[in-house]
């Protein structure tokens, strides 16, 4: 079936080509980083994790969100999701590969990455994260391949894939939980030392992921004969609404605990994010934008007429995705380091090469999504040939 991604219209190839250009630029920057060291990023002795790990954290959520279509369809026979499930699984595959790539480019000695498997360390959450992500990738590749092949033959999928599909449901929850565990068990970082971090991650994942899926479904509908169906989109938008509400609620809970207890090492990180500390306020406009976007998104989503109207739904989904990308990516990761455990305020902002490498990885993810979606559409005979 892979050969189906290698044929297409001029638009298709123009899109692929532009993605490859972005990837090429980023790859060159990464080679420079590989030889010079991570000094070419904006990272420093106090802010040791930044844009790369922020992207990884956000994308694990997008990967996990496939469960929001798999669970209703396979566990509860929600037939309306029949057409969109494969898109969700393919999105998960692309997202997991992006996660792994972001980790790879963030490492000081990437050629030693196999050490994580040569010297397995069960007391390290990072070890379990690699296991969880690797397993999730295998699961989704297997599930999507088997179900799509069966669809192509016109047969129902073989019985043995069912328990594997069921396994992918708690596994999806676990990949984002274990990623939250990377942060939530560190005595050194009071900003992250909160029990609600994992639930917050999951809530934002289940809002941002399905929002992206809705947007992708609309894009695919524009360029092909695919139509997810009104009911699927409606249900997904309901899921996005409730998940976004849960996420905003959880953030409010965090704010209460920090601000009401007034413990400096908890308050200071929020002050840094929203108002700046000692003149360092780079993130403040971003965080307030995230808040405004969240409000706009919720207003549009909670109101049934704007949730059902496709144009306003698109605006809402973009707002959800952007708001959560800022909050979980830039906000949560960077603020964990500022102020430092010694109380120092340090500036961090990604450099141009850092952004170029990140953009290349995003382009790589889009490339995988494009190729896999093309295969699915070809199998269903929904590619438009003009």
């Amino acid at each position: 079936m892979l050969e189906k991604a290698l044929s297409g219209s001029r638009t298709y190839w123009a899109w692929i080509f532009s993605l490859l250009v972005v990837i090429g630029v980023g790859a060159a920057c990464w080679y420079w980083q590989f030889t010079e060291g991570l000094t070419i990023t904006g990272l420093s002795r106090d802010v040791v994790w930044g844009f790369y790990i922020a992207q990884f954290t956000f994308l694990v959520g997008v990967a996990a969100s496939a469960v929001m279509v798999v669970l209703p369809y396979y566990l509860h026979n929600y037939k309306a999701f029949g057409k969109i499930t494969i898109l969700g699984e393919f999105l998960a595959i692309a997202a997991v590969i992006m996660c792994m790539t972001f980790i790879f480019v963030d490492m000081g000695m990437p050629i030693r990455i196999l050490n994580v498997f040569l010297y397995p360390t069960p007391h390290s959450m990072m070890f379990w994260d690699t296991v969880a992500l690797g397993g999730y990738l295998v699961l989704n590749v297997l599930i999507s391949r088997i179900t799509l092949s069966a669809e192509r033959r016109g047969d129902p999928p073989p019985g043995w894939i069912k328990p594997i599909i069921i396994l992918s449901i708690p596994w999806a929850v676990s990949i984002h939980t274990v990623t939250a565990f990377l942060y939530a068990g560190l005595a050194a970082r009071p900003f992250w030392l909160t029990a609600i971090l994992a639930p917050r991650f999951l809530a934002s994942a289940f809002a941002a992921g399905p929002a992206l899926l809705i947007l992708l479904a609309f894009v695919v509908r524009r360029v092909s004969d695919f139509d997810a169906g009104q009911q699927a989109i409606r249900t997904l938008s309901t899921i996005v609404t409730y998940a976004m509400l849960a996420n905003v609620f959880f953030v409010a809970m965090e704010l209460f605990t920090a601000l009401y207890s007034d413990i400096p090492e908890h308050v200071s990180h929020f002050t840094f994010l929203f108002m700046g500390l000692e003149g360092e306020a780079t993130l403040a406009p971003w965080m307030w934008t995230s808040v405004v976007l969240a409000v706009v998104a919720l207003v549009l989503l909670l109101n049934p007429s704007t949730r059902k109207n496709e144009t306003s739904l698109i605006v809402a989904c973009v707002a959800v995705f952007a708001s959560l990308w800022i909050d979980k990516g830039l906000g949560m990761v960077i603020a964990g380091f500022v102020p430092s455990p010694l109380g120092k305020v340090v500036h961090y902002w990604p450099t141009a090469p850092e952004l170029a490498i990140s953009l290349a990885i995003w382009a790589g993810g889009l490339l995988i999504v494009t190729g896999l979606y093309k295969i699915a559409l070809e199998v269903r005979g929904q590619v438009r040939h003009n």
Partner: protein, 286 residues
């Protein structure tokens, strides 16, 4: 599907409980050979428990000794000098103002001699280290033989998770090749390469040859004392029995093994009284 859905929900519920409990057990319980192990101070520890006592009474504000301790360490271990570059700097031992070193202990009416006092900081070689707990390859781990929180630069993948987990800012990362920034490498000790994390290793290569750590060796008056807390005759044990000492962020349960004597310098009768009194009087007007 109904019957199996019920079964699934039962199994899922049990698995969730099992996974949550299991992951907590695994996270704290499983220890491959030579890996990190945490010890609370109430748990008896076999083998040495190496510790350092830094007598803040014996350090002045502009003390040459501070610089000598740092250079002794950094020169012996080929630690690169990046000058004022805060982004790339690497330090195994350095000074911070007292209020930053003991960030949670600062208050307005801190005793005058401690206000802004340059304090030597280094890796605390905690007894319950959070950094070794998070390392995915055991490139940093607590050596059973001597309790040193050690670095294996051959194995480190440069993920910097240990830096994230350290509450004391003791660790540095090689953002770039350090060699151009080492004036004259000490051939008896390796340098490191770009991409690995490094920190103080309690001079384990000197301890193996019966010497004291480099920073201790340049001290002439027990300003820094190093020894085995499990040895009741050791100087560190005696000092802790006689003097008031504090540790950094003790509430986190990391059990740091670097102690700071914070008594009033006027309790030092060995040091020339004039120097001690003038230091105190000067700062009383601060």
């Amino acid at each position: 599907m109904d019957a199996s859905r019920r079964n699934f929900l039962k199994i899922a519920g049990l698995s969730l409980v099992g996974a949550a409990g299991g992951s907590a057990v695994i996270a704290r319980g499983t220890e491959p050979a030579g890996a990190a192990s945490g010890h609370r101070s109430d748990q008896p520890r076999t083998g040495p428990r190496l510790a350092m006592v830094i007598d803040l009474r014996k350090f002045g504000r502009d003390d040459e000794l501070l610089k000598r301790c740092i250079s002794a360490c950094h020169e012996a271990h080929n630690v690169p000098d990046f000058g004022d570059d805060r982004k790339n700097e690497i330090k195994w031992i350095w000074t911070e103002e007292f209020e930053a070193a003991f960030h949670s202990e600062e208050f307005h009416y801190l005793r005058a001699d401690l206000q802004g006092k340059p304090t030597l900081l280094l890796c605390n070689h905690c007894d319950n280290p959070p950094c070794t707990r998070v390392c995915p390859t055991q490139a940093t781990w607590k050596r059973e033989s001597d309790g040193i929180v050690m670095m294996d630069w051959h194995r480190c993948i440069g993920c910097r998770y240990c830096i994230v987990a350290c509450p004391y800012g003791s660790r540095s990362f090689n953002w770039t090749d350090p060699r151009p920034h080492i004036a004259s490498p000490n051939p008896a000790f390796p340098t490191r390469m770009r991409g690995v994390v490094e920190k103080c290793t309690f001079c384990e290569e000197r301890l193996a040859r019966g010497r004291q750590p480099a920073c201790v060796e340049v001290c002439t008056n027990d300003e820094i004392v190093f020894g085995d807390l499990n040895d009741p005759e050791s100087k560190v044990r005696q000092l802790l029995a006689e003097r008031l000492a504090i540790r950094r962020k003790p509430g986190l349960g990391t059990e740091p093994e670097v102690y700071y004597i914070v008594e009033d310098p006027r309790t030092l009768i060995e040091v020339a009284p004039a120097a001690v009194v003038s230091d105190a009087v000067e700062n009383d007007h601060a």
